[in-house]
């Protein structure tokens, strides 16, 4: 199929074309390839802000306030909100827009809901592509809201330049704060619902965790690991109230501070290098998996191997190695 008409419209700033193209990249990976191939040279101008946190921590309401502030600054804003797909039926309820009502009619705001379609990691397979489409559309800022996350959905840190993690009072103590995962990929901690009891305790817990990290910092020998973790940045903490907008000036200040940090020489380039690497790896995984699945479901040779494994004259690891050979990937 030819997408050049839609892509031309996208580059001319047509919102309907954006919506159509996102649907295409969601539904069809072949279409994604052609579309991204055509728009890639128009991407790279947007600042990508990731918002993550537990279900009900207030991500959508938080984004709604942020969006209003950015919109008042005259920025063009794209928002992608990911919600979970049912593992049982494949259906989904996408309810993030409910909290963003105030921004529905703003001409410079484009909001898109997305089901994760079973992808682990907090985002959907098509999220990266949708970000690129919004980037080519001319968005200055793209806000990506992950599904409500637990501890280990950390894909957002590969996709976003700045990651804000929303925490709420009353969930977990200082041990939760030193666990691996979400807490490690954070650039800014925002303790939402600051009017509730325990907000200051939450901040104390995070500060304690950060202090441990600062005084006894272990640095990996692999330079790229340190860059991936943006290792010279000490995460900032702010408490906010997303219902009233209290303390959002402070939050914006911190976001800008992180942007400045990234724009310093070297950091951004390394970050981009890593991002391209991990994105390509994702694409390769997807493609190779598809190939292998195709092979396994149709090849008589594989049936032969399976029989050998069943007879215990071959084990699954050896069979996997044979398949790798078969694919010419050795």
């Amino acid at each position: 199929m030819d997408y050049s008409d839609l892509i031309q419209k996208l580059l001319n700033g047509n919102a309907r074309a954006v919506a159509r193209l996102i649907t295409l990249v969601e539904n069809d990976s072949e279409a994604s390839e052609n579309i991204i191939n055509a728009i890639y040279s128009h991407t790279g101008n947007a600042y990508i802000l990731g918002i993550t946190g537990a279900p009900g921590s207030g991500k959508s309401t938080f984004i709604s306030i942020l969006t209003k502030i950015f919109a008042e600054e005259g920025k063009k804003i794209g928002i992608i909100c990911v919600d979970p797909t049912s593992p049982l039926t494949g259906g989904a309820i996408l309810g993030d827009r409910i909290r963003m009502k105030d921004n529905f009619s703003l001409k410079n705001v484009f909001i898109r809901s997305m089901a994760n379609r079973g992808q682990l990691g907090g985002l959907a397979r098509a999220t990266e592509d949708a970000v690129k489409i919004l980037d080519a559309y001319g968005c200055d800022i793209i806000i990506v809201e992950t599904v409500g996350v637990g501890q280990s959905e950390v894909d957002i840190f590969r996709s976003a330049q700045t990651v804000v993690v929303l925490l709420v009072p009353g969930l977990g103590d200082d041990i939760q704060a030193i666990k691996a995962g979400i807490m490690e990929i954070t650039d800014i901690f925002a303790v939402n619902k600051m009017d509730l009891a325990g907000a200051d305790k939450k901040i104390a817990d995070i500060m304690q965790m950060l202090e441990l990290g600062m005084n006894y910092k272990y640095k990996s020998e692999k330079d790229e690991d340190n860059v991936a973790l943006k290792s010279n940045w000490t995460p900032e903490i702010v408490k906010v109230n997303s219902r009233t907008g209290e303390n959002f000036e402070k939050l914006i200040e911190l976001i800008n501070k992180h942007r400045d940090f990234l724009s310093k020489s070297g950091v951004m380039e390394n970050y981009r290098k890593n991002r391209i690497k991990s994105e390509t790896l994702q694409i390769l995984k997807h493609k190779i998996t598809k190939k292998v699945e195709g092979l396994i479901s149709s090849s008589p040779t594989i049936d032969e191997y399976i029989r050998l494994v069943m007879d215990k004259s071959l084990d699954p690891y050896s069979m996997a190695n044979l398949i790798i050979k078969l694919l010419g990937l050795e």
């Binding site: 309907r16 969601e26 039926t89 259906g91 009502k101 009619s105 909001i111 089901a115 379609r117």
Partner: protein, 133 residues
């Protein structure tokens, strides 16, 4: 095409009507039928609804109206869709729709008109069978 084609539906409450239990039941049923359902909450103006359709690109829109405002709001929504050249989306309205209003709404291009007591299966089938793309 489409290794992962999913039916995407927008469930909306236009106007001042504040009762959305029915809309939530429908949203839930469509979800369980494997569709991706966007619910935008109460008190949507025609402008908000059309902007949402424009951005979310759903295959179907289900307007839920119990307030009696359907004859005032539906024409505005349909006009705005036309203005934006959106003509491949199934738009249906349900809730409390008196029989005598149905021809008027049908004329505008709306379908469905399901009310309380409709079997959920009927609504799921209706969506599946009336998609315009």
């Amino acid at each position: 095409m489409g290794e992962q084609r999913k039916i995407k539906v927008l469930v909306c409450k236009p106007g001042l009507d504040g009762h959305d239990r029915g809309a939530k039941v429908i949203a839930r049923a469509l979800r369980d039928a494997g569709m991706e359902v966007i619910y935008t909450g109460l008190h949507q103006t025609p402008d908000m609804i059309v902007q949402t359709i424009l951005q979310e690109d759903p295959d179907a829109v289900m307007l839920s109206m119990l307030s009696g405002a359907h004859k005032a709001l539906c024409p505005v929504i349909m006009d705005k869709l036309k203005e934006n050249e959106i003509d491949d989306v199934l738009v249906s309205v349900g809730g409390i729709i008196p029989d005598e209003d149905k021809p008027f709404l049908e004329e505008l291009g709306l379908k469905g008109f399901y009310g309380p007591g409709t079997e959920l299966k009927t609504i799921v089938e209706f969506v599946k069978n009336n998609l315009k793309r």
